[in-house]
Symmetry: C2
DNA sequence: AACGATATATAAAGCGCTTCCATAAACGCA
DNA sequence: TGCGTTTATGGAAGCGCTTTATATATCGTT
């Protein structure tokens, strides 16, 4: 059943070398024999072993991907769609390296190396979970997604988190809001940190007072939003608007607000982040930052492809713009604008 | 940098054979040399090439996955979480075979074979898209997800589509509904067909009249639900309830109903299918069938693992039970129960 | 006719590993 | 002590392919 290059050589009455040359269409084979061999290959439905070829060439036409937070990452599948397109375009298959064990001996690099992948994508959350340093220092081309890791052979791609939040805060400011609260994500995550930074910068640039009681530390979940809003409501001057680091957080905020008898957007304006499917179907539909996951996925494998093909150009960092999706969860501040 | 087994052998002062035996912990090596070799392996951070080993052993500890509808399948990522767990458990890595080209010469089998995978998962939609027959007839163990393909080396796993819809229809019947419409998905898809079949059976078993005007052919999208509901509303006896083949379809139905001034659930009961994230956050929250995607993913790789390890037991078909999630989108029928 | 240059084919080595087979050393037992 | 066994080790072939070096045939020049 499983044919190899020798069988073909025999059938065609040529050497293995010649068959190999035909497969890789090396010029030094006459078009006559080339045709004959090609015909046999077709007839016998022969397909060369990618694996064997990879072994000798050292190139496997395979990329590896590590999901350090598992596949349950909420946007994984969106990012993957973009990756898929780029994979098709560049001719790579993708190996999902599932066998991460979290022991100290485990090495991403070695795992990747053993699988003979030409480059790896790392999609994750927290910077300090795994031995990324080894990865960064290794020879193997790597692109990180949503982590600002950079090295001699490592680049990254991410959304423009800082600017996105600033846009959101400015928007609220234009709507006359002055008491703008912020719900963060985990502050030890790259995006969590940056979104917080965006809030800080915006508040500062707009000349608003920076009040720590308007900052709630959450973890991207609905529960953390709910809890945060409950706390905000205890304040003697509760915020009139809250910008969240995630849509799910915003959902929690809205839920708590409704429970307290507040109407969104009339009594409270809310802004999310991510633009998950749910966002546009909510009541009211959630104003939020739309991340271009497709581009993130697409560009990350293109970047990796470039890194593989041009080992000497330093790996870039790519910041993908977001779009601010204005929907129904924000309104002009009902309070007098306080000075 | 990249070490091989020969380097280790040299360092340890033993033969390549011995090193290999240590790696595979073959019994015929003294514990003394074994320890020494192991130590060197650790010191030199040597990791054997999976690829080379796969070449000689014919086993790659790799599974392949084809996504015939691409990664944009709405439940892909949920299913993958389940797969991931089973991959860890069984020790496989997963190769995403992205290079499907849709030309007639393209062969899933050959692609899989060239990549030396031990088995393949096929996750898709339509039965006739690709040359699945070749796959089914091939030697290579295959499990289909959401397709009823079965062969000497092919099994499948899917949700219990028929029964799930029957449960939904019966539930409506208990709520005194008698004019129960159905929104189908694509009828050339496996799940589309089965859900329709469930509706037919339920109607029949409940002794309700089977009315073709209560059947709308959709395609799982919101748009098709919207359109279907518009049509139902033209009827002189519009349905009092509609069961949908997808949650997104149900969203469309509800939207059309609201536009027509109907209140869900008071004037119209609606049931979805899938239990997407959105479902529980809608107003009213959507009553729907919850598919156990984790189990589907998990069991499909376990099944594949079994097929690989026991080549002689005929591949099974696994039907994973669903749970019916009662929420707020259904109410007792407001009309008199018609006889 | 003799020469080097060019085109075409192949043998053989090697990628990093496993495994069969042979060999050598250590052992048990009468 | 001598025999057959067991235990430990290594040589070499081979998995399916690519690639280098080499051989042979063909050709154009003068």
């Amino acid at each position: 059943m499983a044919k190899n290059i020798r069988d073909i050589a025999k059938s065609a009455g040529v050497s293995v070398t010649t068959v190999s040359k035909v497969i890789n269409n090396h010029p030094s084979v006459s078009s006559k024999t080339k045709e004959r061999v090609l015909q046999i290959i077709r007839d016998e439905r022969f397909i060369p072993s990618h694996t064997a070829r990879g072994l000798v060439k050292g190139r496997s036409k395979t990329l590896g991907i590590f999901l350090t937070t598992g596949l349950s990452h909420p946007f994984f599948s969106n990012v993957m769609v973009g990756m898929e397109d780029a994979l098709k375009q560049t001719g790579y298959d993708l190996m999902y390296l599932a066998q991460i064990d979290w022991s100290p001996e485990y090495s991403l690099v070695r795992h990747a190396l053993s699988r003979n992948v030409e480059g790896v994508l790392i999609f994750g959350f927290h910077k300090h979970d795994l031995n990324f340093d080894e990865m960064i220092q290794s020879e193997i081309p790597t692109v990180f997604i949503d982590m600002d890791m950079i090295g001699i052979r490592a680049g990254f791609v991410t959304s423009d988190n800082v600017e996105s939040i600033k846009v959101a805060v400015r928007y609220l400011h234009e709507l006359k809001h002055r008491k703008i609260a912020f719900l963060s994500g985990q502050l030890d995550s790259y995006v969590g940190k940056l979104r917080f930074e965006g809030y800080r910068q915006a508040i500062h640039e707009l000349g608003l007072p920076y009040l720590s009681e308007y900052i709630a530390t959450g973890d991207f979940t609905k529960a953390s939003g709910y809890k945060a809003m409950k706390a905000f409501l205890q304040l003697k001057e509760p915020p009139t608007a809250v910008v969240c680091s995630s849509d799910m957080g915003a959902v929690g905020v809205m839920e708590a607000a409704k429970e307290a008898g507040l109407s969104v957007p009339n009594d409270l304006s809310v802004i999310g982040f991510d633009d998950i499917e749910l966002a546009k179907h909510m009541q009211p539909a959630l104003t939020t930052t739309h991340q271009d996951f497709h581009t993130i996925g697409y560009q990350s494998v293109l970047m990796l492809n470039d890194m593989i093909n041009s080992p000497n150009v330093p790996p870039p960092a790519l910041v993908v713009p977001t779009t601010f999706a204005v929907r129904e969860s924000c309104a002009i501040c009902s309070e007098e604008a306080v000075q």
